[in-house]
């Protein structure tokens, strides 16, 4: 598979790009924020995603999906990133759909059609500490009768407060750092003894803190096998990390484009500031960094799509590289905009806020760099 988009993929991009630029540009997000929206996205827009078939991009054609891959999902996510569009697409159409590949027929039949129709939101609940440490799952699921009782906490669950279902990584055996003993549960949100607290984040999105205070589920809620959920968790995380990386490429490119545009229009000392060589070289360096990030993401998407053994490593490279490159993009973006970039009225600040949330989500560059070093044995 060559490392460049096929004609079909280019066509998809040509469809998605104007769709999001028209339906959900940055002012769409700004309007939701200014209205004090507590949903976290526009359900109307989620329906329109469904109408375009986008929600099924990763579902098999047998399930009514498009049967496409992460390259295509990434095309959508890059535009979501570029427009800072609030959407459960990453959490649901990438995360939940990937997880449901390992789900039971009943689970798949219950949820895939509703996701496809833009009628359901499903999200993964992984993090228990302020830093992403999926290798340490402590939330306990105790066997009780014909099912399990869950005790513990999850946090940083984006869209968790409006999700129709949650997929929760819990510990059924072993101790905190063991891979064996992690079990995945699919839980409807309105169960008893579950407290959901929605927190507004810096980028104006909402994430939930979940408290499981003896939530009881039947054994049918298990996704895959008991104690053997770590693999599915890792696979889903790879999909989510790749998706978040694609979205960060969009965020970084959006910030870069906006900044280049500003350099071409703003005058100082009687000259266009874009003609100052120091800024030119920094912009050129930034462009180069974003190109590396973009290539790393494409590589990860392709390896995931062909089930390559090296995919997990490539995904981590992509997440770390996009984290670093897009951080540079938003930092340079603000600095090159000068004072105006500091105002809420101007959009560049939103890019900085969104970048940080995405960079933290599913592990930041430090986490992945260290993990890669461990994998490489040093």
């Amino acid at each position: 598979m060559p490392l460049c988009h096929t004609e079909d993929q280019t066509m998809l991009a040509d469809t998605v790009r104007p769709f999001l630029a028209e339906q959900a540009p940055v002012r769409h997000m700004r309007a939701l924020r200014d209205a004090g929206d507590r949903t976290g996205f526009s359900p109307d827009l989620w329906k329109r995603f469904a109408e375009l078939g986008l929600n099924g991009v990763l579902m098999d054609e047998a399930d009514g999906g498009l049967g496409l891959g992460h390259v295509e999902a990434g095309i959508v996510l890059e535009e979501i990133g570029r427009n800072l569009t609030p959407s459960p697409f990453l959490a649901t159409a990438v995360g939940a759909v990937t997880m449901l590949r390992g789900g039971s027929t009943a689970q798949r039949q219950a949820w895939l059609p509703r996701i496809l129709a833009g009628e359901a939101v499903g999200v993964l609940a992984i993090d228990e500490t302020p830093r992403h440490r999926p290798g340490r799952i402590a939330l306990r699921a105790q066997r009780v009768g014909n099912g399990f009782r869950l005790m513990g906490e999850k946090r940083f669950v984006t869209h968790g407060h409006v999700a129709d279902f949650l997929i929760v990584a819990a510990r059924t055996a072993g101790s905190c750092e063991d891979e064996m003993g992690v079990t995945l549960f699919l839980i409807e949100s309105h169960v008893a003894n579950l407290t959901v607290e929605a927190e507004r984040l810096t980028d104006s999105s909402l994430a939930a803190r979940l408290k499981f205070d003896g939530v009881e589920v039947l054994k049918e809620a298990v996704v895959g096998e008991v104690d053997r959920g770590f693999d599915g968790l890792t696979k889903t995380l790879s999909a989510l990390r790749t998706g978040a990386s694609a979205e960060m490429v969009g965020v970084g490119s959006g910030a870069l484009d906006m900044t280049i545009g500003y350099l071409k229009q703003r005058k100082q000392f009687g000259r266009l500031i874009g003609s100052f060589q120091a800024l030119q070289h920094r912009a050129a360096h930034l462009y180069a960094e974003m190109e590396v990030a973009r290539a790393a993401v494409l590589k990860a998407q392709e390896l995931l799509d062909c089930g390559d053994a090296g995919a997990e490593q490539s995904v981590m490279v992509a997440k770390a590289m996009t984290g670093m490159a897009s951080a540079l993009a938003v930092q340079e973006g603000i600095q090159m905009h000068g004072g105006i970039g500091m105002t809420d009225e101007y959009d560049i600040g939103f890019y900085m806020k969104r970048q940080r949330v995405l960079s933290e989500l599913f592990g930041d560059a430090d986490y992945h760099a260290d993990h890669l070093a461990r994998l490489a044995g040093y």
Binding site: R131, S204, Q335, G338, M342
Partner: protein
């Protein structure tokens, strides 16, 4: 200085007697800081008492002459006062930016009348000043300043607009750059003082990405400013402004000094490995390398203070300090956000003190823009210090 040891003992005794116990607690929140001004609100009556007592001694501006409301202390005595305040944990009675910027500027360029009118009120914290330098479309480029002041005999008539006026909505007076000669870029600028309650002045706060509004847009519509409020020579306001900016740079450069070890903060947030070290080896390394720079910069700040004191600071060194200090402070907050993870992303929760970390992080992004951008400082270093040729 007659006898430093005696001065130290007297100072210590005076502070011990006069500093209220509440004013010996560390500063915990924004309203523990006294900014002064006509509309000053005191969280605690002890704040006002402490300010009054210190102002009476002239110790809010220890090195100014006593005739202008200062303490008349020598640099050595001022240092002793500072160290004794530190020893007893006395809070700063008045955190006024103008004390360290406009004050020295008036001492150098002001008329006797201006000094007598403004300095004592400044030292007593009665007037809160704001700065009217930047204009929309001008940014760091003061030469293209457009706010006009026309000569109307006994007064100037000021028309125009300023931007990035810090706290203009809380300020009582403004010091302001205006154009008094349109035929000349730098030499046509003058430095004026006027009351923000003068008819024709209006103010609109600017909302920042941090959610705060520390800056305003300020509009002047036929504002009458008496001629006696001109500081320095007519059309030579650029010299006054530069002198003030160099003092501003000194204050801004010190942002990262005297703070807690970032490593300790991070360890509290991230947790520890089995061997007791910060459980994120790559972040730990980045912090360690940052701390080397931060500690080295702290030494440089100390050196800069000593050089200023001995009048041995190289010219334009304030630009080096401003550049390094603000860039380090931005890095520091980036690392802090990295360390605190998703907790620091919360924006409104009580747990996050209303997103204090995130808002502070976003606020630092202005450090390298306000008071002359990093790019302007690098230009100054390249051209003035290194004497590199023009284009």
């Amino acid at each position: 200085m007659s006898n430093p040891e005696r001065f130290r003992q007297e100072t210590r005794a005076w502070l011990d007697t006069n500093c209220p116990p509440e004013m010996r607690q560390p500063v915990r929140s924004k309203d523990d800081v006294v900014l002064g001004g006509r509309r000053a609100v005191y969280k605690d009556p002890a704040q006002q008492l402490w300010l009054d007592r210190m102002a009476e001694k002239g110790w809010t501006a220890p090195e100014w002459p006593r005739s202008y409301g200062g303490g008349g202390l020598s640099p050595e005595e001022a240092k002793i006062l500072q160290s004794e305040m530190g020893r007893l944990g006395c809070r700063n009675p008045l955190s006024s930016f103008s004390l360290s910027t406009l004050g020295p500027t008036l001492l150098k360029y002001g008329t006797e009348e201006q000094k007598r009118e403004h300095l004592p009120r400044m030292a007593r914290g009665e007037i809160f000043w704001c700065q009217g330098y930047s204009e929309p479309g001008a940014g760091s480029d003061l030469a293209s300043l457009a706010t006009r002041a026309e000569d109307h005999g006994d007064h100037f008539l000021v028309n125009g607009q300023k931007i990035w006026t810090s706290d203009a909505d809380k300020a009582d007076w403004i010091y302001c750059l205006v154009r008094t000669d349109t035929s000349n870029k730098h030499n046509g600028i003058s430095f004026l003082l006027f009351d923000m309650e003068t008819p024709g002045v209006s103010v609109k706060p600017i909302r920042l990405i941090s959610g705060y509004s520390p800056f305003c847009e300020t509009f002047f519509d036929n504002v009458k400013v008496p001629k006696k409020n001109l500081v320095g020579e007519l059309n030579k306001g650029w010299d006054v402004a530069k002198y003030l900016l160099s003092h501003e740079r000194e204050s801004l450069s010190d942002l990262s000094a005297g703070q807690l070890s970032l490593g300790q903060i991070a360890k509290r947030a991230v947790g520890t490995e089995a061997d007791g070290r910060l459980d994120d080896p790559v972040l730990r390394a980045r912090i360690a390398l940052f701390e080397v720079r931060a500690l080295a910069f702290r030494a440089m700040s100390e050196r800069f203070v000593d050089e200023l004191k001995h009048e041995r600071a190289p010219p334009h060194q304030a630009s080096v300090m401003k550049y390094l200090g603000t860039e380090l402070n931005k890095q520091r907050h980036e690392l802090m956000m990295d360390a605190e993870g998703s907790d620091a992303l919360e924006w409104e929760s009580d747990r996050s003190r209303g997103g204090a970390n995130a808002r502070a992080w976003l606020r630092t992004k202005a450090n390298s823009i306000e008071g002359g951008t990093s790019e302007v400082q690098l230009n100054i270093i390249a051209k003035r210090i290194l004497q590199l040729p023009g284009a």
